[in-house]
């Protein structure tokens, strides 16, 4: 029969030991612990702010995607049936989500409707002044100029109108933000790791005699490593949770600023914090965790050799 109580007390005994030792070391060099938590916070907030900015720009791009459709004009020499038959060909072009046929009559009507219906400026004109056209919706507006060329290649399409300026501007902005945030994230991650492993190295140095005794009496490497990992883990978690709360505050302040600004009604629409509250929390915790664990494993590595 298995002595479960024995196994459980042994396990919880050890677990308690790891936690106790880990917390002890955090307080024995409080300043370094505080410094490493601050660095993690700073790194996470910088990473987080850029990611949230990038998400918002993405969102703005999405919002404007519907407006940034292309208009493909059909060659007037084509018959109505031929013109309508182009739909399949247009939709077969890569990056085209869908194409909607607009006959010259309905284009003419909506054109007239947009003006005063009693106006005499359309007298003597018919829908024949206009071409049949397609409203072309895209999957990804960052590829708009390429798709414009592709659609223009279709025989029977006379011309494609696209408003490249707005989409290009946002796409460029998003690409810059993405590049900056990914490189920053990588650099800051390495900096955090470095600081974290140095903090834990302090503990390993202070306790080098204890570590030597542990090895001498036959403690396993993992047993020796755990208290240091717990130390790193707690520092990482405290850092990531604090950073999360600060990030929340910073984001709300940012949103207030944008909403209060003049340009807001036209193009900028911000996402509510709730839209990414959970994923952001998970990302922060995972990064804090990783920095803590990897940093402390690096710190203790030298002491565990033979």
């Amino acid at each position: 029969m298995t002595d479960w109580t024995g196994i459980i007390t042994m396990k919880s005994n050890r677990f308690g030991y790891y936690i106790k030792e880990g917390i002890n070391s955090i307080f024995t060099h409080g300043f370094m612990s505080f410094a490493s938590v601050c660095i993690i916070i700073a790194c996470l907030i910088i990473m987080g702010s850029f990611s949230l900015l990038s998400l918002n720009v993405d969102h703005v791009i999405k919002v404007h995607e519907d407006e940034n459709v292309m208009l493909a004009f059909v060659d007037e020499t084509l018959t109505d049936t031929q013109a309508m038959a182009l739909q399949d060909e247009i939709e077969a072009v890569p990056n085209v989500a869908s194409a909607q046929f607009v006959s010259r009559d309905s284009a003419w009507n909506s054109f007239k409707d947009s003006y005063d219906s009693n106006s005499s400026m359309f007298d003597g004109l018919t829908s024949n002044v206009l071409r049949h056209r397609y409203i072309v919706y895209l999957d990804d507006i960052s590829l708009m100029s390429q798709t414009q060329l592709d659609v223009e290649q279709i025989p029977g399409i006379a011309r494609v109108n696209a408003h490249l300026e707005i989409s290009d501007g946002f796409v460029k902005l998003r690409n810059i933000i993405n590049t900056v945030s990914i490189s920053l994230a990588a650099i800051l991650f390495i900096i955090s790791l470095f600081i974290m492993s140095n903090t834990v190295k302090l503990t390993t140095f202070e306790r080098r005699d204890e570590i030597a005794i542990m090895k001498m009496v036959g403690a396993t490497s993992s047993f020796i490593r755990w208290p240091f990992v717990v130390e790193g883990l707690i520092l990482g978690l405290v850092g990531s949770l604090t950073a999360y709360i600060l990030q929340w505050g910073i984001y709300q302040a940012f949103v207030q600023k944008v909403i209060g600004s003049v340009i807001q009604p036209f193009i900028i629409e911000t996402l509510p914090f709730a839209a990414f509250a959970i994923p952001l929390l998970i990302v922060f915790i995972v990064i804090g965790f990783a920095v803590g664990v990897v940093g402390s494993v690096i710190a203790i590595k030298n002491y565990l050799r033979v």
Binding site: G6, T9, M10, N13, R14, Y17, D209, E210, A212, I213, M214, K215, M216, V217, G218, A219, T220, S221, F223, I224, V306
Partner: protein, 228 residues
Amino acid sequence: MVQFIDVFKTYENGAKALKGVTFEINDGEFAFLVGPSGSGKSTIIKLITGEIAPMDGTVIVNGYDMGNIKFGKMPYMRRTLGVVFQDFRLIEDKTVYENVAFAMRVVGASTKEIKRRVPYVLELVGLDSRSRRRPQELSGGEQQRVAIARALVNNPSLIIADEPTGNLDPARSLEIMMLLEKINELGTTVLVVTHEKELVNSLSKRVIAIDGGRVISDGLDGYYNYEE
């Protein structure tokens, strides 16, 4: 059991510490390892504890082949040994009791086992009345007995002591040797490195003498036949 078969060890700086050492210590034996400074005694101890690996030859300790032992097996090999050093190596901010209990805790013993075993070994080394003190509140001889208690607490089959009396006066040294003898009588194999000729001669035990990285004599009569 310890077995050295034609063991060579050269350090990275080129120092030839051992040049073909062969000896065997059987279970239950008590042996001294003697020799002048730099003769290779500590090198032999480090080979037994797995701190360094032999360059050539075979070192077998309690069934583990130390030349080929896997990294993950090392802790389990060390649990079969108790090691005592000249400088005691106690943890200053832990009490006597905690220092001894620590050795049990870090190999995963339960609190229950620790509570049963630690007082027993402290009594064995004669320190039951000192268990709440810290190392700096003890004499050198007492500190060394704490170290011996710690080496004993996980019930090893072999105790190795590298100059355990090097920092002690002759009376304390004799006490430590008698304690090691008592531990040996309780069934543990003991190997003691020492410089103390009188002490060795007074105890009539097996003496392995080493010089220049070679065994120069090995006798059961206890005669320390190396003239320094």
